[in-house]
C-alpha cells in the first residue's frame, strides 16, 4: 500500500530499502547518515520481510559483505559518508569489475580529511569519475528531496540489476537530515530469481559459477574492459535523467545545479526571473550518465551558463565539456559545509553571468 509520511531523509531511505525488497543492509555509523542503520535496527525488517541488517566492523567490512551477498544475486545496499565512502573505493572497483549489482548511498559531508559533518557536494568527482582504481563507472543518481531519495532507492536497484553495476545515490547532509512529506511506494517482493551469474550452490550438470574481477591475461582483460565500456555507452544512451525549468522558452542564461543545491538555485532563478532576467535551470538527476546533449543544445542558444555547486567546482568540468566552447561557463559555489543562500546565487547571476 502506498503511504504518506513526514520523514527524515535518512529514515525514508532506510524505509525505502525495506519496501524495495532488499535482502540485506551492511553498514557502519558515520554522521550525517547514521539514522539509516539506526532506523533499520529499530524497525527489524528481518522479522517482516526477512531483510538482514548488520553493523559491520568498518566500511571496508560492510562493502565487502555487500560484494559477497551481491555475488549471490541478492538485493543489497550500504550507506555512508565522506571518509567511509573513501574506504569503500577498492571494493567498489571490485564490484564494478565483477559486474555485481548493489546500491550505495553517500550522504555527503564536507572534506577533505575528516572535514566537517555539515553538508557538501565535494564527492562529485569521486562518484562520477571513478573513485577507485581502473576504468569503471558508477551509475550516479542525485536526489534533490526526500521523495526523490525514496524513489531512487527503487530505481537504483532496478538499474543495478539491469546493468549489473553498482549504483551510487549521491545525496548530502541536507537531504539526509531534513524532514519532508514523502509518498512511500508499496512493499515489493524480495527477488526469488536464481541468476546464472550468481553463486548459489553448484547446479548439477552445469559449470560452477565464479565471481571474480581478476583476469591475468592482458588480451582477455582488455576484452573485459571493452565490454564494460560498451555497457557504459548503453547506460549513457538510455539512462540520462534531468529536470528542466524554462529551458524550452526563450532564455538568455542557463543555470546548472544538482541535489539540494539545485533547490536553492531554483529559488534564485525565480528571483532573477521576477527581475526580468530570462533564465532557466537544468538539474541533472543522473550525474553519471551526465545530461550532455541538453546542455550542449542549450549552450548554443544562451549567452552564458552558471554552474552552482556546494564544492569548489567539480560538475563545472562536465558542463564545460558539454558546452564545448559554445558559450561561457561560470561557477559559483560554497564549500566546507557552507550552504549558499538564494541571494548569494542571485548576486552571482547578476555579476558573474550577466555582468561578467
Amino acid at each position: 500500500m502506498k503511504e504518506l509520511r513526514l520523514m527524515k531523509g535518512n529514515e525514508a531511505l532506510a524505509e525505502a530499502s525495506i519496501r524495495a525488497g532488499a535482502d540485506a543492509y551492511f553498514g557502519y555509523p558515520i554522521t550525517p547518515q547514521s539514522e539509516v542503520i539506526e532506523y533499520l535496527m529499530h524497525v527489524q525488517p528481518e522479522k517482516t520481510t526477512g531483510m538482514v541488517v548488520l553493523q559491520a566492523e568498518s566500511e571496508i567490512g560492510a562493502i565487502n559483505m555487500i560484494y559477497g551477498a551481491a555475488g549471490c544475486g541478492k538485493k543489497v545496499l550500504t550507506t555512508s559518508s565522506g571518509p567511509g565512502i573513501s574506504l569503500m573505493q577498492e571494493a567498489l572497483s571490485y564490484i564494478a569489475g565483477a559486474e555485481l549489482p548493489c546500491v550505495v548511498a553517500n550522504i555527503q559531508r564536507g572534506g577533505p580529511g575528516l572535514g566537517t559533518i555539515q553538508p557538501s557536494q565535494g564527492d562529485y568527482f569521486q562518484s562520477v569519475k571513478g573513485g577507485g582504481h581502473g576504468d569503471y563507472k558508477l551509475i550516479t543518481l542525485a536526489p534533490a528531496s526526500v521523495q526523490e531519495t525514496v524513489d531512487y532507492v527503487k530505481l537504483g536497484f532496478e538499474l543495478a540489476f539491469q546493468y549489473r553495476n553498482p549504483v551510487m545515490i549521491l545525496t548530502d547532509g541536507i537531504i539526509g537530515q531534513m524532514m519532508e512529506k514523502v509518498e512511500l511506494f508499496e512493499q515489493q517482493p524480495r527477488i526469488t530469481e536464481q541468476f546464472d551469474w550468481a553463486t548459489k550452490g553448484k547446479v548439477p550438470g552445469k559449470d560452477h559459477v565464479i565471481v571474480t574481477s581478476l583476469m591475468l591475461q592482458s588480451e582477455e582483460q582488455e576484452k573485459i574492459n571493452l565490454r564494460l565500456q560498451a555497457k557504459y555507452r548503453e547506460v549513457e544512451n538510455n539512462e540520462v535523467r534531468y529536470q528542466e525549468h524554462y529551458c524550452d522558452e526563450d532564455i538568455d542564461y542557463l543555470l546548472v545545479a544538482f541535489g539540494s543545491c539545485a533547490r536553492i538555485t531554483q529559488k534564485s532563478m525565480e528571483m532573477a526571473r521576477e527581475k526580468g532576467i530570462k533564465i532557466g535551470l537544468i538539474r541533472p538527476q543522473t550525474l553519471y550518465p551526465f545530461p550532455v546533449a541538453i546542455i550542449e543544445k542549450l549552450a548554443a542558444k544562451v549567452k552564458g551558463i552558471l554552474t552552482v555547486e556546494m564544492n569548489t567546482g567539480q560538475m563545472i568540468e562536465d558542463v564545460k565539456l558539454a558546452a564545448n566552447g559554445q558559450t561561457k561557463v561560470e561557477f559559483y559555489g560554497r564549500c566546507g559545509g557552507m550552504i549558499p543562500s538564494p541571494d548569494e546565487i542571485l548576486n552571482a547571476i547578476e555579476t558573474k553571468l550577466i555582468g561578467g
Binding site: D23, A24, F26, V52, L54, A56, E57, S58, I60, G61, A62, N64, M65, I66, Y67, G68, A69, A70, G71, C72, K74, V76, E90, A91, Y94, A98, T199, K200, G201, K202, V203, P204, H208, V209, I210, V211, T212, S213, L214
Partner: protein
C-alpha cells in the same frame, strides 16, 4: 591388465570436487594438497552443490578454477567479510574461505577477528607458510624470528619488525569461535588428519555454533629457496615448534 581396471577394483579416484584445470602452484607447494583435502572433505559430506567458497588474494587467488563449487574471489584480506555477506543471505549453504597468512593475519586482521567474534557460521581455511608467496617472498605476519625474506633479508628482527603472530590462538579466545585446530599436509598421515578436521568443521557449520578455523602450516619452497623435500624438513624443524600442530579449541561438550 584390463581385468584390473574395473570399477569394483578402483581403490582411489580423484575427487569430483576438483576440476581438471592444471594447477599453477610451484612443484612441492602445500597449496595443492590442502585444496585436495578441502575438496575431498566436501565430497565425503556430499555437499558439493550446497557449498560456496571464497578465495583470497595470494597464491591461491585462482583456487576458484580448481574447486568445482560456486566460488567468489575477494579483495586482499576481505574474504571473511565476503563470506559473511554470503552466509547472511544464504544461511542454508556451507561457506568457506581459503586464505594465506598475509591475507588473513595482516591486511585482513580486522575482518578475521570480527567475523570470528560475531561467530559467523563459516569455515576459515588458513594456510600459514610464513611468507608472502604471491608477491615474491616478502615478510608475513607469521614469519619466524630470524627468518629471511625479501623484506627481512637479514632475518626477522623482533625489535623493529614485530613478533610472529599466532592468529589461531588469538581467535580461539573469542567467544564466537567453535573449533580452532592446526594441521599440516606434508605427509599422507598429516594430510588425512587435516581432512578429518576439515570434515568436522564443515559438519559443525550446520549446528550454527560459530566460526571454525583450520590452520594448515605449509611450505613455500620457491620463496624459502629450498627444494620441496628440504622445505618440509625445515617446516618440521622450525615452523612446528612455534606453531605446534593439534587442536587449539574444541567444542565444549
Amino acid at each position: 591388465m584390463s581385468e584390473i581396471i574395473k570399477p569394483e577394483n578402483i581403490v582411489y579416484e580423484k575427487t569430483k570436487v576438483m576440476t581438471d584445470k592444471v594447477m599453477h602452484y610451484c612443484p612441492g607447494c602445500g597449496h595443492g594438497t590442502a585444496h585436495k583435502m578441502v575438496a575431498e572433505a566436501i565430497e565425503d559430506l556430499g555437499i558439493q552443490n550446497e557449498t560456496i567458497g571464497v578465495t583470497p588474494v595470494g597464491c591461491s587467488v585462482l583456487a576458484y578454477y580448481y574447486f568445482a563449487v560456486d566460488m567468489q574471489e575477494a579483495a586482499h584480506g576481505r574474504a571473511t567479510a565476503v563470506a559473511t555477506g554470503i552466509k547472511r543471505v544464504m544461511p542454508e549453504k556451507y561457506v568457506f574461505t581459503y586464505q594465506g597468512d598475509g591475507d588473513l593475519a595482516a591486511i585482513g586482521t580486522a575482518e578475521t577477528i570480527h567475523a570470528c567474534n560475531r561467530g559467523e557460521n563459516i569455515l576459515i581455511v588458513f594456510i600459514n607458510n610464513g611468507i608472502y608467496g604471491m608477491t615474491g617472498g616478502q615478510m608475513a605476519p607469521t614469519t619466524l624470528e630470524g627468518m629471511k625474506s625479501s623484506t627481512s633479508p637479514y632475518g626477522r628482527d623482533l625489535k623493529t619488525m614485530g613478533n610472529p603472530l599466532k592468529i589461531s590462538e588469538l581467535v580461539a579466545q573469542l567467544e564466537g569461535t567453535y573449533y580452532v585446530t592446526r594441521h599440516s599436509v606434508h605427509t599422507p598421515a598429516n594430510a588425512r588428519k587435516a581432512k578429518r578436521a576439515l570434515k568436522k568443521a564443515l559438519e559443525y557449520q550446520k549446528l550454527n555454533k560459530g566460526t571454525c578455523l583450520v590452520e594448515i602450516v605449509s611450505n613455500c619452497p620457491s620463496n624459502w629457496k629450498m627444494t620441496p623435500v628440504e622445505s618440509n624438513k625445515w617446516m618440521e624443524e622450525h615452523m612446528f615448534p612455534f606453531y605446534p600442530l593439534g587442536d587449539i579449541k574444541v567444542p565444549q561438550q
